[in-house]
């Protein structure tokens, strides 16, 4: 077992893990952050996407021991008890959620995209979204939601 110290959703944490523990499993089962979902565990579907130092990464392709000193943000860290973020609200408004299993990974990915590229056009949104698989929606509503949510990121500090 290794001790790893890193920040999760703004809070310092220390956890003892086997080197083989993925960041996804560490978040879900050691830290109880079950909003991060694992749908393929081999780096194709994007459901487990979290932010590491602000960048969207697949937490199933990342080891927990590699997170020493890093700042990790999960869907829980992008959510408020009070209501929905503009991005989340746009998803709801456009009917971009069905079963909801892929949703957290898509919210984290699109948040990372719009934070750095608040003017991303439809082609760019689709290109980035192509790293996340959704089996229910066919993506049309998601693309519309992301394009609408851009306004909330424009002019905000990156």
């Amino acid at each position: 077992m290794r001790d790893v110290a890193f920040e999760v959703n703004g809070k310092a944490c220390r956890v003892a893990v086997e080197p083989r523990t993925t960041l996804a499993d560490c978040l879900r089962h050691d830290l109880g952050l079950t909003g991060t979902h694992v749908a393929c565990a081999h780096g194709v579907c994007g459901a487990c996407t979290v932010l590491v130092d602000g960048e969207a990464v697949r937490s199933c392709l990342t080891l927990a021991v590699q997170m020493e000193g890093a700042a990790v943000t999960t869907i829980e860290g992008l959510s408020s008890e009070d209501g929905l973020s503009p991005l989340q609200a746009a998803f709801r408004k456009h009917g971009a959620v069905q079963c909801g299993f892929c949703t957290p990974g898509i919210i984290t990915t699109m948040h990372a995209l719009l934070t750095t590229e608040p003017h991303a056009d439809e082609a760019r949104v689709r290109e980035v979204l192509s790293g996340n698989i959704c089996r229910c929606t066919g993506y049309m509503a998601m693309v519309a939601a992301v394009l609408e949510a851009r306004a909330a990121y424009q002019g905000a500090p990156a």
Binding site: C40, A96, C99, G100, P104, A141
Partner: protein, 761 residues
């Protein structure tokens, strides 16, 4: 006509209400099976056969048991003399019982992926470590992988049965085998490839045995928890009341999830066996190997028409590659292929024989639009070919043959065994086709057809469909007035990611004449109502929604009676307002005050007839003849579902279904080699549609011709969007090449399409 929904002040039904479940799903607060944990949890991993067909001589578990952290290894031997088998849930036949799947392989393995042993360990990783130490001794037999080999009966999956033909289903109407002198006949062989639902959440179960109360509690139930409970109770020798099936959030169903699988016995058995809670979470490779496969059919069909263009008969044979066992709902797709081959068209004579053939592949079950996707591909291809041969415009040909309103109820072929009759209930089939064409701008785009523009050939396609809904026999709901003044609604319908919570709450709020906040909705779990029939056959809304209306009617009567007793007036005189019951004299009680009387209502909605939503799809494709790439330039899906409860949710389901269908047309294929090994065991090889693949998918949903089942008028929806996609796209591709390329097989992968284009010169 249907009675109008109660509640002049409320009309949530019909509005694009934002979904309730989104609030938790968008914030990572959903509760899926793997999010549930228990102290003292043990993790299960399953050893699966790596051989497609063979005699299982033994399992050596000594090394695995010696690994620190391993708790137990379960094999057929652990179960004693008789290994339970998985019964058929739908269309069962006594003579198919020999083909039921044992929950764990005892003496023979019949597909790669078949469970051989279960390892229980202190962590999921250790359980997987132990799998590598288990040794299954298997004496390989020749595998049967395709229907031709199965039909030859040279190698048998079940020696004692003497045949690989489990059952021959027949769809029969009129005199299809008669001579039709002077008629036009087109005969074609076609096939659709094995692919399946592939939900984003894999399956999973958490089972715990409470020895004190003798209750087995299972998280991860879905779709048909009551039916599964019944099967499990029988297998375990427990009364049904000793088993609780708990439904949590579900990451996609599409017909696949929630049918009874071997693990649905093995995990509860393991929990009882070791006395600790056991969790099993299927991994993606297992999912592709072990979940029901679907869609693998080949056909040899004849379409008979008059020279004027009237369809006279459909006849021929279809082979279904059903996989290794007849389990759960395996019968649905082959029966549907035969019965719904005629679809929305008036076909006076039908004789289709569908052979359900056993092969050494993963067992099959339903996948959204089971049998209908396949049948639509076969039929819509035949229609285009016939129209071309007869020199009739393919739209005019369809318009001529679609069932007209005056002809309804219109009988379909009757399928046997067991015997099932079906009638198309209502609708203006020509209207939806015309609307699809108009939405696509068909007439304006026609001049592009067959043209090479910037290196690509353009083509248009159209296909029509019917979607069956509202499967019986009944659904049950219970509503209770809660002491905080809210209304708790319990139904036996289940949630598989289709927004059921919102839809049912809309229906209940309208009926209660209250805001949606006042309704609290509970579903699926066996602890809420005494029975339930689940979510399949597009049935939840029609059946569960109707049961809710009946239950609420009773509750409101109870509320009036209770208020009358306390306010000193007649029950009929009590007026129910939101949150209050008001007497004529002005006296009033709040719902919270009324609730102290313990008021509830029960509703049971019975139904034995099906509804038929219907519609048409039209598309525009552009094909690069040198790469075989097909761009779906535009795709329009039109569907009349009788009554829309939530148009936004419905349109989303239709678009999603179309894209799933496009996956089945272009990308998705469960490929086996000659040895019966699955070659597509990852998401790198089993290709699902992504956001860059199909950019213009449009749905036009409507509620025009209501269904005759129940007070809602809804027909059931959610599957229709997938049904005609194969035929629609293949017709467009054929049209792009002016008929010189005629797709008869799916998928239309670039490599296959390029080869066809090359062959056509």
């Amino acid at each position: 006509m249907n009675a109008p929904l109660r509640g002049p002040g409320n009309n949530f039904v019909g509005q694009s209400v934002e979904r309730l479940e989104d609030m938790r799903l968008l914030r990572g607060q959903g509760l899926f099976t793997d999010d549930v944990s228990r102290p003292g949890l043990v993790h299960a991993a399953i050893l699966r056969s790596t051989v497609a067909h063979g005699w299982l001589r033994g399992v050596d578990s000594a090394a695995a048991l010696a690994l620190p952290g391993v708790v137990a290894v379960i094999t057929a031997a652990t179960m004693g003399a008789k290994v339970p088998a998985i019964p058929m849930r739908l269309a069962p036949l006594d003579e198919l019982e020999p083909y039921w799947q044992p929950v764990i392989a005892a003496d023979k393995v019949r597909y790669v992926g078949e469970p051989i042993a279960v390892v229980l360990a202190e962590s999921a990783a250790i359980a997987e470590d132990a799998l590598e130490l288990l040794v299954a001794e298997i004496e390989a037999l020749p595998p049967v992988v395709d229907t031709a080999t199965a039909l030859a009966d040279g190698t048998l999956l079940f020696e004692a049965q003497g045949t690989n033909l489990a059952v021959l289903y027949t769809a029969q109407k009129g005199e299809a085998q008669a001579e039709f002198p002077g008629a036009y006949v087109r005969r074609e062989k076609m096939d659709t490839q094995r692919h399946t639902a592939t939900t984003m959440e894999t399956r999973g179960l958490l089972a715990e045995w409470d020895a004190t109360t003798e209750v087995l509690r299972i998280h991860g139930a879905s779709k048909v928890p009551f039916a599964s409970r019944g099967m499990l109770a029988k297998q375990m020798g427990l009364p049904e009341t000793s088993i609780e099936m708990i439904e949590v959030d579900v990451g996609g169903g599409f017909g696949m999830r929630g049918e009874f699988y071997p693990e649905d016995f093995l995990v509860p058995f393991a929990a009882k066996h070791c006395g600790r809670p056991v969790k099993w979470i299927e991994d993606r490779r297992e999912h592709l190997l072990a979940c029901n496969h679907a869609r693998e059919f080949d056909c040899d069909l004849e379409l008979v028409c008059s020279r004027e263009g009237d369809i006279l008969a459909l006849r021929g044979t279809v082979n279904g590659n059903m996989g290794a066992y007849m389990r759960a709902n395996v019968a649905v797709a082959p029966r549907n292929v035969g019965q719904f081959l005629s679809g929305p068209y008036a076909v006076p004579n039908v004789h289709v024989e569908v052979r359900a053939l056993l092969t050494n592949k993963t067992p099959t079950g339903t996948y959204r639009g089971p049998g209908r996707f396949e049948a639509d591909f076969f039929r819509e291809r035949l229609l285009d070919l016939a129209a071309d041969d007869l020199g009739i415009d393919r739209v005019a040909f369809r318009r001529r043959n679609l069932v007209k309103m005056a002809e309804m109820p219109y009988p379909l072929a009757t399928v046997t065994p067991p015997k099932k009759e079906e009638k198309l209930d209502s609708g203006d089939y020509v209207m939806t086709m015309d609307l699809a064409l108009a939405e696509l701008d068909w007439d304006a785009k026609l001049p592009l057809q067959g043209k090479l523009i910037d290196g690509r050939y353009h083509g248009l396609g159209v296909a029509c469909f019917i979607e069956g809904g509202a499967a019986g026999p009944r659904e049950r709901a219970r509503v209770e007035l809660v002491e905080d003044g809210t209304v708790a609604v319990y139904v036996g319908s289940t949630l598989v990611g289709q927004g059921l919570e919102t839809v049912m709450t809309q229906i209940a709020a309208d009926a209660m004449e209250c805001s949606m906040d006042t309704i609290r909705f509970f579903h699926g779990s066996t602890t809420y109502v005494s029975e339930g029939f689940g979510s399949f056959h597009s049935r939840s809304t029609v059946m569960g929604g109707s049961a809710i209306l009946l239950a609420i009617e009773e509750l409101r009567q109870r509320m009036r009676e209770a208020a009358a007793a306390r306010l000193g007036c007649k029950a009929e005189a009590v007026r129910l307002e939101e949150g209050r019951a008001v007497a004529p004299g002005g006296g009033a009680l709040s719902w919270a005050e009324l609730a102290t009387a313990g008021l509830s209502g029960d509703g049971v909605f019975h139904n034995h007839t099906h509804t038929y939503a219907y519609g048409a799809h039209a598309c525009h494709v552009a094909v690069d003849p040198r790469s075989g790439h097909v761009e779906v330039v535009d795709y329009v899906a039109v569907e009349d579902v009788g009554r829309m409860i939530n148009p936004l949710a419905l349109q989303g389901q239709i678009v999603g279904a179309v894209v799933q269908g496009l996956g089945g047309v272009f990308l998705e294929h469960l490929v086996y080699d000659a040895e019966g090994q699955l070659l597509t065991g990852s998401f790198a090889d089993y290709l699902l549609p992504t956001a860059t693949d199909y950019r213009s998918i449009r749905a036009v949903a409507m509620g025009v011709h209501t269904g005759a089942v129940g007070p809602l008028g809804a027909k059931g929806a959610g599957e229709g969007g997938i049904i005609p996609v194969g035929g629609c796209i293949a017709n467009a591709v054929a049209a792009a090449f002016s008929g010189k390329v005629q797709p008869m097989s799916l998928p239309l992968s670039p490599s296959r399409l390029w080869a066809m284009i090359e062959a056509a010169g």
